[in-house]
Amino acid sequence: MKRTSILLILVATLFAADGVQAGSVFSFNGQGYPLRRLGPRASGMGGSGRAIVDGLGMSSFNPALLGAYRRPAIYGLFSLQRRNVEDTRDSRAIADGDIHGMKAVFPFRFRGALTVGLESLTDVDVTVVDTVGTGGEQHLLGLKGTGGIGALVIGFGQKVGNRLFLGAQADVMVVGTLTESWSKDLLNEAQAFFSLDNVTRSQEGVQFTLGGVFTAGNLSLALVGRPEATITQNVLLENRLTSNAITASATETKRDIKFPATFALGLAYARSSRLVTAVDYEYAAWGSTGPGRHDTSEIAVGLQYQTRPDNPRGLGRRYDLMAGVYRRSLYFATTSGSAITEVGATIGLGVPFRRQAGAFRWTLEIGKRGDLQDHGASETFFRQTFSVSGWIQ
């Protein structure tokens, strides 16, 4: 009864945000806004946790975490976001939400585990309206960008000896499209035919991730590397005439896009089984993937504290309390030349199901992206993440 209620509430929540996506005003740039691909716990810990090998880590940032799994598990993650976008003229509140990932983990007898899932790697969700040009060329330019690059994630992790965990992961980018819809409506002409151009980008390619965690007592150290990958992007360009089958002038081209080489370090310290702290750093060479782009870095610090089952409030069950902060830069090319930064703070709550069947986790994240003076816009965001992870009995 209780699980059914939770499920119904979750479904209702999904419908409440139907048709919208969690994005950023900066997302229509290059391959889109890069998602951090965090699992339920890492979301609450500010994005840290590459070195926490306790068989609960669902994040895709280190496949070596899979080596700690002992039981099959699944999870799904949904986020809702309210962001206040501000530019030099106006400001507006935008609400959006999306499912960011679903994964399953299947451990083997020999202390290894396989994971399969679908995840969003990038997200595009932006609508722009602007008046462009002068005289007879003056027009209202509209842009709606949606979608994102997704991947079929296949990973494997293995515990080697007593202290070492190793893993590999392939992000097979065969799902998800980036869709742009450009409209141009002449402002000074009464009978003009407006333009409507649709660009649909689909991808084919794979990027691999290799990771390892070494544990020494209460301390563990993670090292993750991701070689640069070249992905084939298929671009279909259609206008109103082709969309309405009036002309056959749709053009389809293939081009290469690059996902950057990435290097990450993680450090975790478990003072006891109830208190875990972690700090992570990631560097990605986005600058080599396109003109004007910036190499990016991210640092995240977080902790998780488990309440006792017999806690003073008498709630009768163990809860996970999480908190974290992070700061990262984004790769987008900007007119000012300075990189866009994103800072955020998170808190989270994990509520386990009965009989160790899994957990519901809720995370609240507050942050800010961009600078109004440097980047022409900035946004503050208020994001909540809901996830359900469960053990397959």
Partner: protein
């Protein structure tokens, strides 16, 4: 149960705090986007590399029931009015034609709506050399070409105009011979048209004119100082094409169904570009036009294996539009799809033809518009870039 309550409260609060807002266009501008949406390009003053006149066909349009008569010569078309006046003894002073000596004879045309185009020039008076009636078609309806109507040129007369009356002197012999043939029913027939070299048009009332006092009258002056006036008993008019319009002129005309062909040297665009606007501008020659409105059909000219045809490109209403120019320059938009085909290289640019659509209406008449100096303005948008 308590856990469910806690989770429920969290989710409800989430709804209230997060799902508020909108998905309307965000206020940010295009500067945040590193892809370009494609340039919008305006190309003005594109001159035609070819213009021509296409005579489609003639229509036996105006029968004798029309309110008006056209007399004149304009844009290579001679407008010929045929009149017949039957004089009975009551039309002659004293009632006996044989006792009168005809001094002079005039025909008076009453202008409708004060309609005179151009400078009033000489009027050619001719004698119909074959029988005619108000229901006669002056066009070969099987070939839509002019059917020869024999006339004997009599004289080029200088008309005079007083207010809305145009007076043309006729040869005295017209009436004298008619009286001699039958003094009790003297029938005078003649034709009026613009003399060669003239460029004018007069629109006068016919015997069916709805407005009182607008019927053409034969005015006879006799040697004894008496005057007789008799209205026409039969009248009609027709148009005879005698020359092509001058080069560079765009004549769009019904009746003598005349269209115009044009071909422009257009800029090239990528196939995925969109032509947003094609505007044709022409100078409207009001003094040489006679027009209330024209329904125009604009078609693409195709040449296949030496055969020239024309087709409507699409269902766009711009391909058949009603124009009523009231000022100059006159502007009309054209179907951008036709131009997209040419500019993208999808079609050979053989030009377009603009043809008036002749509509059978109760107030049927010839109408035309004369334009000069055609030029195009084209606005097109390039597709968005796919790079970055």
């Amino acid at each position: 149960m308590q856990n469910v309550r806690v989770i429920s409260i969290i989710l409800v609060l989430s709804w209230l705090t997060t799902a508020c807002g909108s998905t309307d266009p965000s206020p940010v501008g295009i500067n945040l986007v590193d892809l370009a949406g494609g340039e919008v390009v305006e190309v003005s003053d594109i001159r035609p590399v070819e213009t021509g006149t296409r005579l489609r066909e003639l229509f036996p349009t105006v029968l004798g029931e029309a309110d008006e008569l056209l007399v004149g010569r304009m844009n290579g078309v001679e407008y010929v009015s045929l009149l017949q006046v039957t004089l009975t003894p009551t039309d002659f002073p004293g009632g006996d034609a044989t006792r009168l000596e005809v001094d002079s004879v005039f025909v008076e045309l009453k202008l409708l709506g004060n309609l005179v185009r151009g400078a009033l020039g000489d009027v050619k008076v001719s004698l119909p050399d074959e029988s005619w009636s108000e229901s006669r078609a002056f066009v070969d309806t099987s070939t839509f070409s002019t059917a020869a109507f024999e006339r004997i040129d009599l004289v080029d007369a200088v008309p005079t105009r007083v207010d809305s009356t145009i007076r043309v002197r006729l040869p005295v012999e017209l009436l004298v011979d008619a009286i001699a043939e039958d003094p009790n029913e003297a029938v005078v027939e003649f034709a009026l048209s613009g003399a060669e070299g003239a460029e004018f048009l007069v629109v006068a009332g016919s015997r069916d004119a709805a407005t009182a006092g607008k019927v053409p009258q034969l005015v006879a002056y006799y040697a004894d100082g008496t005057v007789g006036r008799t209205g026409s008993s039969l009248d009609t008019y027709f148009a005879d094409r005698v020359a092509t319009p001058s080069s560079g002129e765009v004549l769009l005309q019904t009746g003598v169904l005349t269209g115009a062909t044009m071909r422009f040297d257009l800029p090239t665009i990528p196939p995925s570009a969109t032509v947003n606007l094609v505007q044709l501008t022409m100078d409207y020659d009001f003094s040489r036009s006679f027009l209330t409105s024209l329904r125009l059909r604009i078609e693409r000219i195709n040449v296949v294996d030496g055969d020239t045809t024309s087709t409507i490109v699409s269902g766009n209403q711009l391909n058949e539009q009603v124009v009523a120019p009231t000022s100059s320059p006159f502007r009309m938009n054209l179907d951008q799809l036709m131009f997209h085909g040419w500019m993208s290289g999808d079609r050979d640019n053989r030009g377009l033809v603009i043809t008036p659509v002749f509509e059978i209406t109760s107030d049927l008449r010839y109408e035309w518009a004369l334009f000069t100096n055609p030029r195009l303005r084209v606005v097109y948008s390039l597709p968005p870039s796919i790079g970055s």
